[in-house]
Symmetry: C2
């Protein structure tokens, strides 16, 4: 008795600074229409999918920073996407910069939402693993100031939606095994991940040519080791002079890639995912109740970083990394 969920990749090509949200939302709507035409019930869009990837710039003016953030969701610019979602019965994952009003004041998050097939937001996630750096580092070809512009979220909670157990993560989260495991321990059956990943990594340019490999490796391992589908979606191509990887793909609980985008532009691809396929792994090799040994995992939560190098020294990041 399979539980099929038809899931579409909603990969975006670049969004330049001059592009308006209205223009971008029209592109998202076009991808959603394409997905609907081939039977998709859910489409996954990238991280920060409404604007250019602004953390590449050091910006001091608070109003200018806030211009990249959404103060409410939906809002006037994104309402057409919610309306289309409801009209077509296609849910979506969308990443955006969120300006939240909290008791302590305004807080900025790198956020994703899950919208069901009736156009209603059913879950929100705030990125935990913010990469990059906090201070201006002019030696870099471009900045990666996520640690400056965003506050980290609390963690991962799964949602019962689309006939299964759905979780969300964002970009750098996908490189950390903990991300998938925390959701795996909640029975996740599909993890949705949007990303923006420059080909060039300033602190370690010697592995720029491995960016696509690392992207896929991390998601394949997360899928296999937790018996879950993983859907990774890029904002790809050359955006404001910075080239970003594509490689959007859908990965089965076996770790196998079952759908993939081929370009670095706006592109839709689809897979029919059987959520019951997860059980083949969750009930055998990765039956956590039978096989996990949490008493041996203490350091994972007790310790943040490393304490030993080859000569007994503490690993320390070089300045500016």
């Amino acid at each position: 008795m399979p539980r099929y969920l038809n899931v579409a990749l909603g990969q975006l090509g670049p969004i330049q600074r001059a592009d308006s949200r209205t223009q971008v939302v029209a592109r998202l709507c076009e991808l959603m229409r394409q997905a609907h035409a081939v039977g998709a019930q859910l489409i996954v869009f990238p991280e920060l999918a409404l604007t250019t990837f602004f953390p590449r710039w050091y910006i001091e003016d608070e109003a200018e920073i806030n211009s990249f953030f959404e103060q409410s969701m939906p809002n006037a610019a994104t309402q057409p996407l919610f309306d289309l979602s409801k009209a077509l019965g296609v849910g979506f994952y969308l990443g955006y910069a969120e300006l939240a009003q909290e008791a302590t004041g305004a807080v900025r998050y790198n956020t994703s939402i899950l919208v069901d097939r009736s156009g209603q937001i059913v879950a929100k996630y705030r990125k935990v693993h913010l990469p990059g750096h906090k201070e201006h580092e002019p030696w870099r070809r471009f900045q990666h100031l996520e640690k400056r512009y965003f506050t980290a979220g609390d963690g991962w909670e799964v949602t019962q939606a689309f006939g299964g157990v759905v979780g969300m993560a964002i970009c750098n989260d996908r490189r950390w095994a903990e991300t998938y495991r925390v959701m795996g321990l909640q029975g996740v059956e599909m993890v949705l991940i949007g990303y923006n990943t420059p080909v060039h990594n300033a602190p370690a340019p010697e592995h720029d040519d491995l960016s696509l490999f690392h992207n896929q490796l991390s998601m394949q391992a997360g899928a296999y080791q937790n018996g879950t589908w993983v859907v990774g979606v890029a904002k790809a191509g050359v955006e404001e002079g910075v080239d970003s990887i594509g490689g959007s793909c859908i990965i089965a609980p076996s770790g196998e890639v079952v759908a993939r985008c081929l370009t670095k532009g706006d592109e839709m691809a689809i897979a029919r995912c059987d959520l019951d396929f997860c059980a083949i792994y969750k009930r055998t090799t990765f039956n956590f109740d039978l096989h996990r040994q949490p008493q041996a995992y203490g350091l994972i939560t007790q310790r943040k970083g490393e304490t030993l190098g080859a000569d007994g020294t503490v690993w320390a990041a070089p300045s500016g990394v």
Copy 2:
């Protein structure tokens, strides 16, 4: 200033039940000589490398079970390997079944040791993730009774040896991201892993054709996500009618395979591993001190298994899995 360590894969073909330890040790010595001839300083042998993989049989007679275990190490049968190690200056990793005398009586472990270039044991590890089952399950083509014959070890401690930080794991440990992370948090630079992995997995035969892929995927992800070398070594081929995967390989901190065995028999392969290469990852993408978020990882140590299925049920293993 590279820190090179020349590491050899000491893959074994099958060991039949009738093969004596003396015969097996002669094969290990031959592999060590081959490794020494091409400059190896360390050779890694498989899990349970002194006998056939006896957990495939349900055995009731205690004396017969114990016949597969070592009561001391080194012992008369293995002394020639230790002597050769000292004579050649080649250290080794060796997996074997250990019968330990503890205050509570005799305890059986699935164990590995690390021997330095002077032939001295410098570390011992006891397998944490024991796969398989505890009771006799005659429906299986062959048994996998590790949970019956072995007690789980406490966890992973790294050792300063061979000019770097070395860790050990055994077989099924390599599928669990926690294994690598607990050592990564101790600054590990090379993880040594012996394994015996049947091609056929009785509870989930539909992914038998993925056994080699899963083997490599797990080790590649563990290497990349912790910035460490990983050395995986099989006992391969058809042993007492059961076909096991080969796929022994050495994986760089980039996740790339740099050396590989090609057969399912006794085979040596080598790589020159720069331990300083780890830092390229440990100090950038996987700088744990900068980027890990342990406050969000609580479930990993708080919870052993899953609690939610798609319909809110608890995942439960089918009988006999």
